[in-house]
């Protein structure tokens, strides 16, 4: 392998690690939104997953337990959101914001003893035979299992929404909860499950950040990635395949800031760090300006509480 190639492979690898947390968080939120629920607490659940996963992985020494704990932390936080919005019918926007603020505070408090703790990261697993393909082998087939998992998850969600009966019910609940209710489907239950799935995904996203991407714990580790994931769902117009593309695009932009210095772009680091946020705004504008397209793809009842009338 030539030096040029290995540099490219290195950049490619870091793009993939930067994109993976976005894939998890965004695919979870996509399912949540498809059921008609807007959970703005992604950032808070990510931080919960990040601190929960890191703590358990550090204490138990097992990456698997850490990942499970991260997932569970995200689910617990999403359960709080689900109870408030679905049972007590609080405003989804306000409750989502509350979840984010609470998650930031709680993770900072619980993570206090973990600051400065070293962690070796999730082990990578090279797929035999395929890994021996020149260049592509290292780039595509030498990752930790969570990277493969994120791709599989997107494929699975895409299949679920498009081709299964349960996926159809979920979409019906999101587009017309009244009709779904009249047909005898349990709207609240479906939304509970979707919200929990979103929490699990946000938790996975968070623990990928703290256990593989960083790998360490710091206050506010996610630095707005939860919000970028929310924007990615709009960018993807609620379609899983586009979401994957979007996440990798943003992964690329994030990595650009790290490698800018190396490829001779000499601008202040703060300007480069602004790039993902600026890109999010630009992307949102480009997609949202086409109102017809948003209306056609967005779940029709998104953000509205459902009151079953018996």
């Amino acid at each position: 392998m030539s030096a040029d190639n290995s540099m490219l492979v290195l950049i490619g690898l870091s793009v993939i690690t930067a994109a993976t947390p976005l894939v998890y968080a965004a695919i979870g939120e996509l399912v949540v939104e498809k059921s008609g629920v807007l959970n703005l607490g992604v950032e808070g659940m990510m931080l919960g997953g990040a601190v929960g996963g890191f703590a358990v992985a550090h204490l138990s020494g097992s990456a698997l337990l850490g990942v499970l704990a991260g997932m569970l932390s995200g689910m617990l936080l999403s359960l709080l959101f689900a109870f408030l919005t679905l049972h007590l019918r609080s405003s989804q926007v306000a409750t989502g914001l509350a979840l984010t603020l609470f998650g930031i505070g709680l993770s900072a408090l619980l993570g206090q003893p973990l600051i400065g703790v070293a962690y070796e990261g999730i082990p990578t697993y090279a797929i035999p035979v395929l890994r021996d393909i020149p260049v592509l082998g290292t780039l595509l087939f030498e990752h930790d299992l969570m990277v493969y998992g994120s791709i599989l998850l997107v494929v699975a969600v895409s299949f679920f929404l498009r081709s299964t009966r349960a996926g159809l019910i979920l979409r019906a609940v999101g587009d017309s909860p009244e009709a779904a209710h009249a047909l005898g489907y349990r709207v609240i239950l479906v939304r509970y499950l979707a919200t929990l799935f979103g929490g699990a995904c946000a938790g996975l996203s968070g623990c990928y950040l703290s256990m593989a991407y960083a790998p360490m714990w710091a206050e506010n580790l996610s630095a707005g990635r939860g919000w970028i994931a929310l924007a990615l769902v709009v960018f993807a117009t609620w379609q899983p395949s586009r979401l994957l593309f979007g996440a990798y695009l943003f992964g690329g932009i994030t990595i650009l800031q790290l490698h800018a210095q190396a490829i001779g772009i000499n601008v202040p680091s703060q300007l480069m760090s602004m790039l993902p946020y600026i890109a999010t705004i630009i992307v949102l504008v480009l997609i949202s300006r086409d109102r017809g397209r948003i209306r056609k793809n967005a779940p029709a009842s998104i953000g509205q509480a459902f009151h079953p009338t018996k």
């Binding site: 609080s90 306000a94 509350a98 202040p268 949102l284």
Partner: protein, 356 residues
Amino acid sequence: MISLQPRQQPSKLMGLLAPLLALLLTVLAGLVLFALLGVPVGQGFYAFFIEPVSSVYGLSELGVKAAPLIMIAVALSVGYRSNVWNIGAEGQLILGGICGGAVALYFYEVDAWYVLPLMMLSGVLGGMLWAAIPALLRTRFNANEILTSLMLTYIAALLLSLLVHGPLRDPDGFNFPESRLFHAAATLPNIMQGTRLHIGALVALLLVVVTWVLLSRTLLGFALKVNGQAPRAGQYAGFTQNRLIWFSLLYCGACAGLAGLFEVAGPIGQLLPTISPGYGFTAIIVAFLGRLHPVGVVFAGLVMALSYLGGESAQISLNLPVAVTGVFQGMLLFFLLAADVLIHYRLVWRRTGVAA
């Protein structure tokens, strides 16, 4: 079994009681939290809730912290009434600090009466400029203001960091990332000897009155309310949503920008890489806790200011992490949202298994 029974009309009484109930539950949950952290409960309660306000200086600090919260929250509630979800007040505050601070540094050691007013004007315009971006993107391109205003907060924080590391850095400051200390003509007058209480507290109260008049005595205030509760009715009445979006965001930008300038020209006295402990975000909780009403916001602002002081005090006397403040603030908003169910529903006890 407890079940929810819809009320005929939303309960006004519960609207007022819910925040108190939420506060009570937060304090109780806080005591549990102290116990879990291994702190004697009584000591924790005293350090967090009593000690900070048991002296005149403590009370003045409460005013220092409450002023920016009230200024921003009162403006946020204007937007939230009409479903304009500006959550980027923190960024607007930072821009106000940057623009106002830049004026102070430009007129460094110019001892003239006009420096401070010019700083305020610049701070207000800076905040408005930052808020104008989500307003433009929402009205022109339909882009969600929640996401754009939040992204702009991250950008503002990086911009501030960039400036204090570069152009606005103190030339004699040994490369520390901070600006020169503002000179006397560029700092806010104190309103109480021996404390840090500055005229921002008075301005905050003035804004409360102005906003109250705006909401209850003007057509604009009425339009905001109608468009929030019944957007279609508002449209038939000829209230254009776009104009309200522009107004809500610019008004908040102005107030947050001024609050940011007050921070740098008051308690801080220079530009630092961080100029706010998240006032712009906490103000969101203040707005909800204050029932989106200017008078309610004053009380809510004082409560949330106490959560900052309590966190600092608990850190000093009990060695607890400052993050306790964030947990308290988050819990309070959760409990409030939960308690709000009582406005529209009443709790009824029903024995299970008995046909109603």
